[in-house]
């Protein structure tokens, strides 16, 4: 327990950077306030959340049926479908599509699933240059960085950092003016769009009934990236499937509201197969790659509910821990409350074993989740698994076991109160301790710790009883204070 973990190191680094912390905190609070305003605009939002929860849970529970229906319908539109068991499989499939079609320049629509598989690295190794076209992702890529938020990848960057990256990497004149910077990116990307031959996107929703891929973006890059290149590859996790087109309306209504506080994303692209003969534009080929990547395991476990996640990022914005430590500290592509679940469950429960404890269980994530994933409860379930698997750090396990033994027995409990009072005496400054020794020093690292009171309530109660029986009887009705 005393050994510093990678997570604690990341946390210490993040907390030391006040500027980044303030940037994240401000941006996230603005988003969560925008969400509140957007949600208040419609009167049935809570019912929509119930509906979204039920639809997505039904889809997850019946995932094979809906995936098959989706696959059949994509094929009937002339699209090709590939199943990938692992992230590496997905990358290999996409790289071989590029090789087979002799594709060299890929434009990418922001996709967390391609971040999860680290697709860009695989493509680069295969001689395919992949360029991110979402402005935030473009800057992340320019700055050789990683996204720190599911929706707002550069939430951790201020405009100075962005300006420096643009000047350094694409040779434009240094400016911190957001509009000028955006125009530079736009000019750069227009040229890329003219020359690209492969478009890679994620998928927000996959409609089983129609074989439709829905992509929600704000900058129009999604539409350009999926129509301009010869080939469009869409990578999706198995949990993206929803049953009907009518269900999509529910999700479109809640996604952007929860995410950015917009009523709907600026562009909502519905894609049904590659270019048909009569179409003026569109890709010649459409490949849909469907990734398991650990999701099937989650689907078959008691954590199935977390596959409802639609990656809106609201839980990140709301989370007091995320807003303090930022996305990179989580050591995973999915940070924040949902990341504390996805990282261990998709990857490795041991490596990510410190994440489930990094929560005060304040419950704000549950309060904003559009599909009502009970994240605090799921975090407790992960902690329960650690207890079952005996992977709780030994000192912590020992401390807990003793504490529970004491709390389960009235006489040990009373003894504990007395010993706690006596035991803290050497470090006492009145009723508080400024510094405790040994493992308890963590309790006084930043704040004073209270000592057990000289007389616990149970002793006060006894004298209070005597006091009460000695006082003259008085009216028990005190109507002047009743409403």
């Amino acid at each position: 327990m005393s050994r510093t973990t990678w997570f604690e190191e990341n946390v210490a680094k993040a907390l030391a950077d006040d500027e980044v912390r303030a940037a994240i905190d401000n941006a996230a609070i603005k988003k969560i306030e925008a969400r509140a305003a957007a949600v208040a605009e419609i009167d049935n939002f809570e019912k929509l959340r119930d509906l979204a929860r039920d639809i997505k849970q039904h889809a997850v529970d019946n995932i094979d049926r809906y995936l098959q229906q989706f696959i059949d319908n994509v094929k009937s539109h002339g699209g090709q479908v590939h199943l990938a068991k692992t992230a590496a499989d997905a990358n290999r499939i996409i790289a071989s599509i590029a090789r087979d079609n002799d594709l060299k320049l890929a434009v990418k629509v922001k996709s967390m699933t391609t971040e999860e598989t680290r697709l860009n690295e695989q493509l680069a190794a295969d001689g395919v240059r992949a360029i991110e076209t979402d402005l935030g992702e473009f800057i992340v890529q320019l700055d050789h960085d990683r996204p720190s938020h599911i929706v707002t990848p550069i939430i951790h960057k201020n405009r100075k950092v962005v300006a420096a990256a643009m000047a350094r990497e694409i040779g434009v004149e240094y400016t911190e003016d957001p509009e000028t910077l955006t125009m530079h990116a736009r000019r750069y990307l227009r040229d890329v769009f003219r020359r690209c031959d492969l478009g890679v996107s994620g998928v927000n929703f996959a409609v089983a009934e129609t074989g439709t891929i829905c992509i929600c973006t704000n900058e129009g890059n999604g539409r350009l990236s999926t129509t301009r290149p010869k080939v469009h590859v869409a990578l999706m996790g198995i949990e993206k499937v929803i049953p009907r087109m009518a269900d999509l309306a529910v999700f479109l209504k809640i996604l952007a509201r929860s995410s950015t506080g917009q009523p709907i994303t600026v562009y909502t692209s519905l894609i049904n197969g590659p270019k048909r003969p009569a179409d003026p534009d569109g890709p010649e080929k459409l490949h849909v790659v469907i990734l398991d990547g650990g999701r099937r395991r989650i689907q078959q476990s008691e954590y199935r509910d977390i596959l409802r996640c639609i990656r809106c990022g609201a839980c990140l914005n709301a989370c007091p821990v995320y807003r303090r430590i930022g996305g990179h500290a989580y050591g995973n592509v999915y940070p924040g409350p949902i990341g504390k679940l996805l990282a261990p469950l998709l990857n490795d429960k041991t490596y990510y074993g410190g994440l489930p404890q990094a929560s005060s269980l304040c419950g704000l994530c549950l309060e904003v989740c559009p599909v009502r994933i009970n994240i605090p409860d799921a975090l407790i379930r992960l902690r329960k698994d650690q207890v079952r698997d005996k992977s709780v750090p030994r000192l912590r396990q020992f401390a807990f076991q003793w504490m529970f033994r004491v709390l389960s027995s009235p006489w040990l409990y009373r003894l504990g109160q007395k010993l706690g009072r006596l035991g803290t005496a050497p470090w006492a400054d009145g009723e508080w301790c400024r510094k405790l020794p040994g493992p308890a020093r963590r309790l006084t690292k930043f704040r004073d710790a209270p000592r057990p009171a000289p007389k616990p309530f149970r002793q006060l109660w006894k004298s209070e009883q005597n006091r009460e029986s000695k006082r003259p009887a008085r009216s028990k009705i005190t109507s002047e204070h009743r409403e």
Partner: protein
Amino acid sequence: MDVALFVTCLTDTLAPRAGLAVVRVLRRFGCTLHFPPDQTCCGQPAYNNGFHEEAAVMGRRLIDVFEDYERVVTPSGSCAAMVVHHLPELLAADPAYAEKSRSLAARTWEFGQFLDEVLKVDMSSINVDSSRPITYHYSCHLRGIVSAERASQMVSSLGGIDYRPLEQLNQCCGFGGAFGAIYPDISNAMTSDKLDAIQRTGAEIAVVNETGCTMTIEGAARRRGGGVKFMHLAEVLAEALGLMDEQA
């Protein structure tokens, strides 16, 4: 009206004056108080940290201790949430205790909730010292029991109060049980911001109805040099009603 007090282990041990204030305020409003002496802990520390067998042991004890009382009131929203929401889930498959846990859940109230919903106390009829500005911290686990709006309204509607609303009312103070000990750095970052917000209100008194939050924020305030007085709502009410003049 008979009321059994579930004082909670933290309040019993660290904030006995708040427990005493609860007793005196409830008596003032006509309740007959009982204190089953064998009570210890609701099991929440075990439950939250994944030790569910141990939590069930403590939960069953609590149910037995309070079995004979018609109403149970506790000065902690967190422990109330454990009894009202989590114990029935935890013991749902226990044939001997499933029904009993639901029964205890239905008979348990958080102190402020009890004043509001059962005793229907008119807070504006209780006058506090208007020369001492008061702010209110909403504790996270009160969610699902009393809303932040209602809970802060109860304080702000006290007679004569100079009420100073707290920014980011729904933000956690950084306590989180074992969280604060496992990740003191993150916890401290949260507590500092909370304390900043409290200090910005200019309040002299911060009402905090959760001993866990109180020890966290007050501990940080002391490290910074003090300044704010932390009190449970029951203490504020008991003082306003002249019930705390003589200590037990």
